[in-house]
Symmetry: C2
Subunit: 412 residues, 2 copies
């Protein structure tokens, strides 16, 4: 079952909005065995929509269109589709009622412009939108399915999960495809390729495919099979070998994030954690708290961005700050040890680095970062020299810190 | 000058990686007057690459391809292009030298696999990659330009900025297009549309286009003209009217973020800021520090995620916590006032909310959030009821807090 995605919106072409919808759709559909053949991003112009639909319907069985269903005048998708399917717009009373309730429940006035949201092509199946006002639409033509969804990500996702995917699951004949991804932190792709040369060769000799997916601070390795579930065990074995070879880097498989894995380990070990952050300034704590119920193990943190607050809130020794500088093993150790006592937690993670673009010295280039983790009876410290980019340095510090505590928690 | 973008990679189709490259390319190229006609995302298969190239070259003057140039075996773009242009791979000595230095300078070993990165099609122009090992390539064929770049975002961006855009700027005859975007916080698109009905009609009567770009907590309004710079003043006037009509929501124009604007206002007013965070748990502080040189005004913060740390670090009254709960005006006020003293800052912003998916009560549904900002002589508090989603509730709290301090700093 071939699926193509059409993302409509000038804002996607001129880069004002990143196309996260297409990624999410790709992930959900391929999980269910659909073959995502192409993603087309086009402008919100009638002729572009029609041309792309014509062309895409030749190659795909299902076409999913997002965008252009909002209540404002720049939203043209519904009108273009009505014309394309030689249909007409009629009031859909259930939708009108739903849209009215949507505003009433939120104590918001019901506006004239919102009535338009209940005008729907006569011959389509209405896909209820519980998160917003524009319903989705399901058209069928010459054995093909065309689905139109709003572009607002959480509305699109809710309609997909509640209305579209259950219908597609009944229709789809899954292609024989299976893939699984291993996640590694703190090692670059060429080093993995070098170290795992024979392993990689063996993967290919088994007619499996290996893909490297590098991102800031992480490399994901996807092994996929065109024989579907037959290869599940073989792939498991390869991941087992990878884990044996790179235990300090291999942190998990699939979509689970490092923060989720660390969270689970903290719960399992019945431990609490806190942070004493300088260069990451709250990003590490926020990464912990991005996981629901993080309050079980995450208690709080101190962001001591200035040297004064390092002394005042974390009792860092003034002499150490003056002698070694804020980005030093001595200071980051004090931050972690004192932070642990102040926050009354089992582990305190401290970060101090030069994120850039300024603040560097001859001996401490931009990217120089110290991380310390204090536990009851010891402190582990590690120095990194990352790169020139502020955002990436912060991100790499957060991921490296999470991997350091992961290694402590698994006892290696 | 029509530009098409081809993004290569199964990881993009199956949603393992979000296509941020295409957005960035779209933004940089359209800024320079190029007309981004389409973005195609395809899998890393020879026939897909060739078919899409054939088809795209009929419609576009410039085609930019990203992905598939890495050092590992799953990277096929270079070989496919060499074949497509009936070229052959030869050693490019300058690149070999550069790749060797790249590893030497980082104290990393030079691997065999990296030599391949210096094998380049004979007839292309080599585009130096100062951030990584795979160089970009510039091909010309039948008056069209085809550019191949690595998929790693910062490598792609550096090659574009240093090697590609300067060349394209010389060639391009900009289309007559001008656009500017206004940014609003804390108001939904249908309310803007209702309130600004006459304004919107007047925009269209002036043959300008208006687009609504909603995202979590923000709506961006883009006005664009097909007469180019002729309409600059007219668009400025429309934005002036918008600002007059919605002063509490309108925070700026263009790409400047709310954190950047608040940062500039803090510098201008010579004020410092700190945070006392519960539900946002460091995200608000991290948003301040995402801006270079934030240390000028941002001093630090306290993340009191647990009630114990709210008492211990921020001296929140135990009775208030028990009587009103952590998510209450009383508690968030104490957090802000005490946080301001403890952090010795001019303004302290406190957040406390129920981000979800658990923690709600009958009187406090998920999404209930209090924000307080304490200054020398007063405290401003505001209650919000956001939505059901944890990540979006955190994000909306951060943006609402930044907009609240913005309004204080501009004196309204």
């Amino acid at each position: 079952m071939k699926v193509s995605i059409i993302s409509i919106g000038d804002e996607l072409l001129i880069g004002q909005t990143i196309n996260t919808n297409a990624s999410w759709l790709g992930a959900e559909l391929s999980k269910r065995g659909a073959d995502i053949s192409r993603i087309h991003t086009i402008s919100d112009q009638e002729n572009e929509i029609i041309q792309t639909l014509d062309c895409t319907l030749k190659r795909a069985d299902i076409v999913i269109i997002t965008g252009g269903l909002g209540p404002t005048q720049d939203d043209i998708t519904k009108n273009v589709l009505t014309k394309y399917f030689q249909d007409e717009l009629v009031i859909h009373h259930e939708t009108l009622e739903r849209v009215r309730n949507f505003f009433t429940q939120r104590n918001l006035p019901f506006l004239d412009v919102n009535i338009q949201q209940a005008m729907i092509p006569k011959n389509c199946i209405v896909l209820n939108n519980l998160e917003g006002t524009a319903p989705g639409m399901w058209f069928e033509k010459d054995g093909k399915i065309i689905i139109s969804l709003p572009g607002v990500p959480h509305e699109m996702k809710t309609i997909m999960l509640q209305e579209v995917l259950p219908r597609i699951e009944k229709i789809i004949s899954p292609i024989k495809y299976y893939s699984k991804t291993a996640n590694l932190q703190g090692i670059g792709e060429s080093y993995i390729a070098e170290k795992m040369k024979i392993w990689e060769q063996s993967i290919r000799e088994n007619n499996l495919e290996l893909a490297y997916l590098p991102s800031t601070g992480l490399v994901r390795l996807r092994i996929s099979s065109k024989k579907g579930n037959e290869d599940v065990e073989r792939i498991e074995n390869f991941f087992h070998e990878l884990q044996q070879a790179l235990p300090n880097n291999f942190y998990g498989v699939g979509d689970e994030t490092l923060a989720q894995i660390v969270g689970k380990l903290l719960i399992k070990n019945k431990c609490t954690v806190g942070t004493a952050e300088s260069c990451t300034a709250g990003d590490l704590a926020a990464e912990f708290v991005s996981i629901p119920n993080a309050s079980t193990y995450f208690k709080g943190g101190i962001i001591s961005y200035s040297n004064e607050l390092k002394q005042q809130l974390l009792h860092v020794n003034k002499n150490n700050l003056e002698t070694y500088g804020a980005v030093s093993e001595q200071v980051v150790t004090e931050m972690a040890v004192n932070g642990r006592n102040i926050l009354s937690v089992d582990y305190c993670i401290a970060t101090s680095g030069i994120a850039g673009p300024t603040g560097n010295t001859t001996s401490k280039p931009i990217g120089t970062t110290w991380i310390a983790i204090a536990s009851k009876d010891k402190v582990i410290t590690k120095k990194f020299v990352f790169e020139q980019n502020r955002q990436r340095n912060i991100r790499r510090t957060v991921l490296s810190a999470l991997n350091m505590i992961r290694l402590i928690l698994v006892g290696s």
